[in-house]
């Protein structure tokens, strides 16, 4: 008998090719669902629950002082830089305003870089004439070999995660009208979820789901109801003056067991002129919980009804479970620019505790024509970086801004196209008195365990590990490592530019690394110009 080897060879070749292709096509939904256990970094806040906790113990209290930078990647950009990096299969992904790059997570060698040329109009802003284009990218999302991000001109684009080649683009927002998709999108099932931010230009906020395959819109939830929609009766007042706001600019968390999205909604506008919007102003300054597949509202909790201080809700993560009075409960951290950290039960919806993590003063005082001095100011409180949950010691470690100011209401309200629609103004206290806090609280009770004071507002992401370390950064430029239980600083390195976003830890080839992003911020933080860089640190 004579068998031809050719068909078998072909069969083997096909199987091998298929395995090769499958190996490239990740992360899968199963991998994303289990991202909390990953020693890579598959989602902006590490996992859908947004815990920013990694089980890696090579870097410890007794050797953290030996950390040193091993490579630097320069993105070649001087605009706002606030990405949360992603790491998958040894590649680290970051985004700038227009570019996306994949670099080797252990060596900084560039694998590919994609530059997006804006096709639609972009936004232009002057706030004191310092900010030009308010768009910044807080990161991207990965699934099935695709990396998806938003652009400064209102597109969602998908690139091949291995090669950087464009797969599709879809215009979904009007950037010229300040519908800016700043948040890092989330991918869940076959949907890309993203929303628009920056309430002060009179936008009406929304969050939406778009088909992963091609960006086709699937659902949308409007945060400021139209006439006749639920919540519309919480906006009473002058019908001829525009009302809006409810911007969304931070990635939501997602409970994969329930398929529920926990979304933080921004402030109502006009910010300081409440007379034209009497009522609670739903769903601004609130956490809304949506069905991730349909966008339907399941429940909500408003933290600042009828806000008059630009106190957006910004944080709805981590999701975690903790024992409270002998019972294990499912909780969500809820926090915003009003500076208060809350724990809310995801089943009963009741608030378990609240604790102020910054200076609070005169919070009930409404803006006046002469000006009312209030803490926090419009910059928070909590900005876009969430607490990290460390299950090893059951603590939350949270960054906040401590910077007060004077809130003024104007004597009349006027909407002028192209200008901020606030109905008044805000004046910070001198920059010399601005500061920040990193606070560790008991996740079950809210009791403060330790506090670290920074000379400037704390804006960077916070990451904790099973070695009970905290990795974060400061506006002054320092990357810092602290002990999670005691709050003392174990290592410090000045990156040369503000650290206001992604600080992550991961393993590549069995070795633990820390990736720190550093770069320019918006002018109102009063920092010098800086270049967008990523520095990777490791032990010798």
């Amino acid at each position: 008998m004579h068998f031809s080897i050719v068909p078998f060879a072909l069969l083997i070749a096909v199987v091998l090719a298929q395995r090769q292709a499958c190996a490239a096509m990740g992360p899968t939904q199963a991998e994303l669902d289990a991202a909390g256990e990953s020693v890579e970094w598959l989602l902006p806040n590490h996992d859908y629950a947004g815990q920013r906790f990694v089980d890696l113990k090579q870097i410890r209290r007794d050797n953290a002082a030996q950390l040193r930078p091993i490579c630097i990647y320069q993105a070649g950009d001087v605009r706002g830089f606030q990405p949360n990096p992603l790491v998958y299969k040894g590649l680290l992904y970051i985004t700038t305003v227009t570019s996306t790059m994949a670099i080797d997570a252990a060596t900084c060698a560039v694998r590919w870089r994609h530059d997006w040329r804006p096709k639609a109009k972009e936004a232009e802003v002057r706030i004191g004439g310092i900010v030009r284009n308010p768009f910044r990218s807080r990161g991207a999302a990965l699934k099935d070999g695709m990396i998806v991000r938003s652009t400064s001109d209102g597109h969602l684009i998908a690139l091949d995660a291995e090669t950087g080649k464009e797969l599709w683009e879809r215009l979904v927002a009007n950037a010229e009208k300040y519908e800016l998709m700043i948040m890092a999108p989330l991918i869940y099932d076959d949907l890309v979820i993203t929303g628009i931010g920056i309430s002060e230009f009179g936008i009406k906020g929304w969050i939406g789901g778009f088909r992963l395959a091609d960006g086709e819109p699937v659902w949308r939830f409007n945060t400021v109801p139209d006439e006749g929609q639920p919540g519309a009766d919480t906006w009473k007042g002058a019908e001829d003056k525009p009302r809006g706001g409810g911007g969304i600019w931070v990635t939501p968390s997602l409970d994969t067991a329930k398929g529920s999205l926990y979304v933080a909604v921004g402030n109502p506008v006009p910010d300081f002129f409440g007379g034209v919007r009497m009522g609670k102003n739903l769903y601004t300054a609130a956490m809304i919980v949506l069905d991730a597949k349909s966008g339907e509202l399941q429940w909500f909790r408003q933290v600042v009804p009828h806000d008059l201080h630009d106190w957006d809700l910004t944080i709805t993560n981590p999701l975690y479970s903790a024992v409270i009075a002998g019972t294990r409960r499912s909780l969500v951290s809820v926090a915003g620019k009003d500076g208060i950290l809350r724990a809310v039960d995801r089943e009963s919806h009741e608030q378990i505790y609240e604790v102020p993590l910054t200076t609070i003063s005169n919070a009930d005082a409404e803006p006046t024509i002469e000006g009312a001095h209030t803490c926090p100011g419009v910059l928070g409180g909590f900005e876009w970086s969430s607490p990290s949950y460390n299950p090893t010691s059951n603590i939350l470690v949270a960054p906040t801004v401590d910077w007060c100011g004077v809130f003024r209401k104007a004597d009349e309200l006027r909407y002028v196209s192209g200008q901020l629609y606030m109905g008044g103004s805000y004046t910070y206290d001198p920059v010399e008195v601005s500061r920040g806090w990193l606070t560790a609280v008991n996740a079950s009770t809210g009791a403060i365990v330790w506090k670290y004071q920074s000379k400037r507002p704390m804006l960077a992401s916070v990451t904790t590990t099973s070695a009970n370390l905290v990795f974060t950064g400061e506006l002054s430029g320092d990357f810092v490592v602290l002990d999670a239980n005691q709050g003392d600083v174990l290592y410090r390195f000045n990156t040369g530019g503000p650290v206001t976003a992604g600080v992550i830890t991961y393993a590549a080839n069995g070795k633990q690394y820390v990736g720190v992003t550093s770069g320019a911020t918006a002018g109102f933080w009063r920092t010098p110009p800086a270049s967008s860089i990523l520095i990777i640190f490791a032990l010798p």
């Binding site: 002057r126 004191g128 004439g129 310092i130 024509i369 003024r408 104007a410 009349e412 006027r414 002028v416 196209s417 192209g418 200008q419 901020l420 008044g424 103004s425 004046t427 910070y428």
Partner: protein, 174 residues
């Protein structure tokens, strides 16, 4: 169509130059000299620039301010605005308030002097908003309009929003 004479800016710049020379130092003199030469040149083309198109729409008032008002505005501008926006409105740490930037943002026939007055008096100076009197703000607006080539007239810009809102800021045609 009325064309305002170019003597007005020359008078203004002389007054401004003297003011600077009185007050300051060498730097002030250099600024004054630059102002002198630039505005002297400008005064020859002013007749063309200072034409405010007489509107077909009778509801639109002519955008007009008085020389004296603009002169007061200049002093106020120097004190409160120039450090960020430049004495020639060319922009420094902050955006220009003249030229293409001003035309694009304000002279698009969709904005009135009332809009400009509202934004400036509620949001500026940066860091100390709404701290000047309304009279001071409207005088500064007069100076900004003058520096952007709009004609002066017999009337000062009033504080009455009803009047200011009817003054549509029209594009300048070279």
């Amino acid at each position: 169509m009325k064309v305002k004479l170019s003597m007005a800016p020359v008078a203004l710049l002389l007054r401004g130059a003297l003011h600077h020379l009185k007050k300051c130092d060498v730097r002030g003199i250099l600024v004054a000299r630059d102002v002198l030469s630039t505005l002297a040149l400008a005064s020859f083309v002013y007749p063309a620039l200072s034409v405010s198109a007489h509107s077909e729409n009778s509801e639109n008032e002519m955008t007009v301010y008085s020389e004296e008002q603009a002169s007061r505005g200049r002093d106020l501008y120097a004190e409160h605005c120039a450090s960020c926006h430049g004495m020639m409105l060319e922009g420094q740490s902050s955006l220009p308030l003249s030229g293409a930037t001003f035309q694009a943002r304000w002279a698009d026939e969709k904005h009135s002097v009332g809009d400009l007055f509202y934004i400036v008096r509620t949001l500026m100076p940066y860091g100390q908003p709404a701290t000047l009197s309304k009279r001071e703000y409207i005088d500064i607006i007069a100076y900004v309009l003058m520096m952007n080539g709009y004609s002066s007239g017999d009337r000062a810009l009033p504080l009455d929003p009803a009047v200011l809102d009817r003054m549509t800021i029209k594009p300048q045609r070279p």
